[in-house]
Amino acid sequence: MSRVIKQWPWLILGLAVVIALLAPLLPTQDPYYQSLLARNLAPSAQHWLGTDSFGRDVLARLVAGTRLTLLVAVAATCIAFVGGVGLGLLGCLAGGVTRTVIYTGFDMILTMPAILLSLALMVALGVGTGSVILAVGIAFMPLFAYVTRAIHERESAAGYVTAARVIGVSPLTIAWRHVLPNAIGTLLTQIAIVMPRAITTESVLSFFGMGVAPDVPTWGRIIATAAGFAEQAPLSLLFPVLALALTTLSLSLVGTRLRDTLDPLGKQLAAGA
C-alpha cells in the first residue's frame, strides 16, 4: 500500500493522460454548450462539478481542458526539444561563428522569464493555439540546447569518440550514434522538467487572455473564467486549480525521480546523498 502511495505522481499523471486520450469518448456533455439559464450552479446529479458563468458543464470543460492543456504542453515541449537539441547540436558541430550566434541567441532568450518572453512572442504571433505552442516552445528551447552542449562536450572528450574520430567517422555520425544515445536519459529528465513549466506558462498566458480563444477549455481559460465568480461558484475555480496544481506537481516529482534514475550526474548525487 505504501508503495502505491509513493507512486502517486505516476498515478496522477497516468490519470491525466488517460483522460486526455479518452476525452472524446467519455460520456461528458459538450464543453462548449451554454445554458444561459443555468449559470454558476452548484454540483448536482446533472452537473457533477456544477456549471460556470456561461452555464457550461465544469466537468466537461475540465475533461476537454485536460486534453487540450496536455496537448499544448506536449507540442510545445516537442518544439523546444527538437529546436533546442537540433540547434544546440548544430552549434556544437559547426563551431566558430555558428556556435557563437546560436548560443548567444539562446543566452538572450534565457535572460527573459519564459512567461514574459512568451507574452512578447504572442504579441508578435497573434493569439491562437498554434501561436501559444510556438511561443512556449521557443521560450524553453535553451533548456535543451544547454544540456545538449554539455553532453556533447563531455562525450567528445571520451576515448571512444576520439577513437572514432581517428578512424575517420564524421562528426555528424559521431553525434548521431554516440553522443545522442548517451544524452537520452538526461534529455528525458529535461522533458519532465520542462513540461510542467510549459503547462504553467500556457495557463498563465490563457489566464491573461493571450492564449487560446476565450471559449476554448484549457485549464488557464477555465481558471480565468471561474476567477471572476469565485464568490458565487467557488467550486468552479477549485477543480481546475487542483487539476493544474496536482499535474504540475506530479510532473515535477516524476522529473526529479527520472533525473535520479537516468541522469549519470543525478545518480551520483543520489548515491552521495
Binding site: 451554454q34 444561459l36 439559464l37 458563468s53 456561461f54 493569439v127 491562437g128 480563444a213 476565450p214 471572476g228
Partner: protein
C-alpha cells in the same frame, strides 16, 4: 416653425426617454477639499482630443467644449455663455465666457475656438467629428468673445455634436500633427498618461468655475475589461464601471449603483467592406442572424433591465419605431429555418470557419456559441480596444459582436454607418452611397417628425441589406463608493458637464 426652434427640439428629442439616475441621499455637509479620486471607466485611446475614435470618458476632465449635454439630455452652453441660431438653421453664433483660462494661464478667446474648429475640419481626416465639420462653410470671429459658424446647409445635430469638439490651446505640443500634451480649460490638467494603464490628472487651480474642483487630482485606471467590483468593495477604486451581474454584491456592501442616462446598444456586424464570398450570400447572413437568441443574449448582458431591440435607439424613445420592431424577422432564434437557408445556399457549415473579432467581453463568447450551433467552425480573436480596432480595420474577419456606448445625439449612431464616418469598422465598413444620402437627408430634415421618418428609413435600408444585426440595449452601471459625494452619472460617459461631473465631486474621510 423656424429651424432654430426645431434644432432645439431636435436636441431634446434625441435624448428623450431618459430616466433620472439614482443618487445617494446627500448629507448636506459642506464639500471637503482635497484627496485623489480613483476611477475606472473607459480607456483613453489618444492624447489628441480631436482624433479620438469614440472612447470618451476621460478627456472631458482636461478639455472642454462650447456646449454640453446636461444630465437631463438637453444641450446647454458651456464654454459659451449663450448661443443663437439663425432662422434658417445655418448660422450659429456663440458668445464666450470672458473668464476662461487655459492651463498655461492664457485667457481663451474666439480665435482659439476658430483654430480648433478649423483644425478638425481641415487637418483631421479620421476624427470623431471630421465628417460633420465638413459642412462648416465659414468661421468668423466677430469680437474677441464672439464666434460665428456658417454652414453650407442646415445641420440639426450641430449643437449636440459641439459638446464633443474639445477646445485645445493651439500652442499645445504637436498641434500641427498629433497633439501630445493638450492644454485645455478643464478642471483637471493633462498630467501623466501611460496608455492602457493609467492617467493621472492634477487639479487646475485657476479653473473658471470658482471654487471647483474640490479634488486634488483624479487617477484614472485605464486597464479596462476587468472586474472592478472587488476594487470598489476594497476601496482601491472610488468610482468604476461594473458589470450588471455584480450589482447585488455591490449594493450589499453599501456601494451605490448609478446608471447612465442613455443606453449602450448591442449588435453583430458583418464584414461589409471585404466580405468573403460565403458571406456575400444574404441567406448565409440571415441564417447567422437567426441563430442569435436576442432574449438570452441581452439577459446575459443586462439581466432583467436589458431591452431587446432590432434598432440602434432605445425602445420607447423618439427615434425608435414599434412597427419596425414588430417586423423584425430575427426577433426569435430559429435554427431549423437557419439550417434550411444554409442548405438552399448550398453551404455546409462544417466546411467553413468563420473569423470573429471582438473585445474581451463575455457576451462575445455567447454570440460565438450561438453561431457555432449552426455547425460553423469559429476562429475567435478577443482583443483589447486598440487591438480590436486594428484587427477590424484590416477587414480580414466575418463577424463582429460589439456594443456602442451612449451618444450625445442620435446622429452619432448613424454617422458610423456612413462611408466616410468615424470608426466605420465596427459596422463592417459600410460603403453605400444610398445610405449616405438617406442619412444626410435625415440630418437636413425640416422637422423633427420628418427627421425621425428619414432616420428610420435609413435604418430600414441597413436592415434590408443586413449590414449589421441589432440585438438590444442595456444601461451601463457605475459603482460609487460610500465616501464619494456629489458624483452623478450623466447622459453619456462624459465626466465633466455643465451641471455635474468630477469637478463637483468630493471625498469624505
Amino acid at each position: 416653425m423656424h429651424r432654430r426652434t426645431l434644432i432645439q427640439l431636435f436636441a431634446a428629442a434625441s435624448c428623450a426617454g431618459l430616466f433620472p439616475p439614482l443618487l445617494r441621499a446627500e448629507t448636506g455637509a459642506a464639500p471637503k477639499v482635497g484627496g485623489t479620486l480613483k476611477i475606472a471607466l473607459m480607456g483613453l485611446d489618444t492624447s489628441d482630443p480631436h482624433r479620438h475614435s469614440g472612447s470618451i470618458s476621460v478627456q472631458q476632465v482636461y478639455v472642454e467644449t462650447l456646449t454640453s449635454v446636461a444630465n437631463d439630455g438637453t444641450v446647454k452652453p458651456f464654454l459659451a455663455e449663450r448661443f443663437e441660431v439663425s432662422d434658417d438653421g445655418k448660422v450659429f453664433t456663440f458668445y464666450l465666457r470672458d473668464n476662461v483660462q487655459f492651463h498655461n494661464g492664457r485667457t481663451m478667446t474666439a480665435q482659439d475656438i476658430k483654430a480648433n474648429l478649423e483644425r478638425v475640419r481641415d487637418k483631421v481626416s479620421a476624427g470623431w467629428l471630421s465628417t460633420s465639420m465638413k459642412l462648416v462653410d465659414t468661421i468668423s470671429v466677430t469680437s474677441p468673445l464672439t464666434i460665428r459658424i456658417e454652414l453650407k446647409e442646415s445641420f440639426a445635430p450641430l449643437l449636440n455634436l459641439l459638446s464633443e469638439l474639445w477646445i485645445v490651446a493651439p500652442e499645445s505640443e504637436g498641434w500641427d500633427e498629433t497633439i501630445r500634451h493638450p492644454i485645455g480649460t478643464g478642471p483637471f490638467t493633462f498630467g501623466t498618461w501611460q496608455a492602457n494603464q493609467r492617467f493621472y490628472a492634477p487639479a487646475f487651480k485657476q479653473y473658471w468655475q470658482a471654487g471647483l474642483p474640490y479634488l486634488d487630482a483624479v487617477d484614472f485606471d485605464l486597464r479596462g475589461d476587468r472586474d472592478n467590483s472587488l476594487s470598489l468593495r476594497s476601496g482601491d477604486l472610488h468610482v468604476a464601471y461594473v458589470n450588471n451581474e455584480r450589482l447585488p454584491s455591490l449594493r450589499s456592501d453599501n456601494v451605490e449603483v448609478q446608471f447612465l442616462g442613455d443606453t449602450s446598444w448591442y449588435f453583430m456586424s458583418f464584414n461589409n467592406r471585404k466580405p468573403r464570398s460565403l458571406l456575400q450570400d444574404v441567406r448565409v447572413r440571415q441564417a447567422i442572424a437567426l441563430s442569435i437568441d436576442k432574449s438570452a443574449y441581452m439577459s446575459f448582458i443586462g439581466g432583467q433591465e436589458a431591452l431587446i431591440s432590432n434598432q440602434l435607439t432605445r425602445p420607447q424613445t423618439f427615434y425608435w419605431d414599434q412597427a419596425l420592431e414588430q417586423r423584425d424577422t430575427f426577433a426569435r432564434p430559429n435554427l431549423a429555418q437557419a439550417r434550411a437557408l444554409l442548405q438552399s445556399a448550398g453551404v455546409d457549415p462544417a466546411q467553413h470557419t468563420l473569423k470573429v473579432v471582438s473585445w474581451q467581453a463575455d457576451y462575445a463568447q455567447v454570440a460565438v456559441q450561438m453561431v457555432r450551433e449552426l455547425g460553423f467552425k469559429i476562429e475567435h480573436q478577443a482583443l483589447d480596444d486598440i487591438g480590436a480596432q486594428r484587427a477590424l480595420a484590416q477587414y480580414d474577419w466575418d463577424l463582429a459582436p460589439f456594443h456602442s456606448g451612449p451618444r450625445a445625439d442620435v446622429y452619432l449612431r448613424y454617422a458610423r454607418l456612413q462611408s466616410q464616418g468615424p470608426s466605420p469598422m465596427l459596422w463592417g465598413g459600410i460603403q453605400d452611397a444610398e445610405l449616405d444620402r438617406l442619412i444626410a437627408q435625415a440630418v437636413d430634415a425640416p422637422s423633427a417628425s420628418v427627421a425621425r421618418e428619414r432616420y428610420l428609413g435609413a435604418w430600414q435600408h441597413v436592415m434590408d441589406r443586413l449590414y449589421t444585426l441589432g440585438i438590444g440595449h442595456s444601461a451601463d452601471a457605475i459603482g460609487v463608493a460610500a465616501n464619494v459625494h456629489g458624483y452623478q452619472t450623466g447622459f453619456t460617459w462624459s465626466q465633466n458637464r455643465v451641471d455635474s461631473g468630477l469637478a463637483r465631486t468630493w471625498l469624505s474621510a
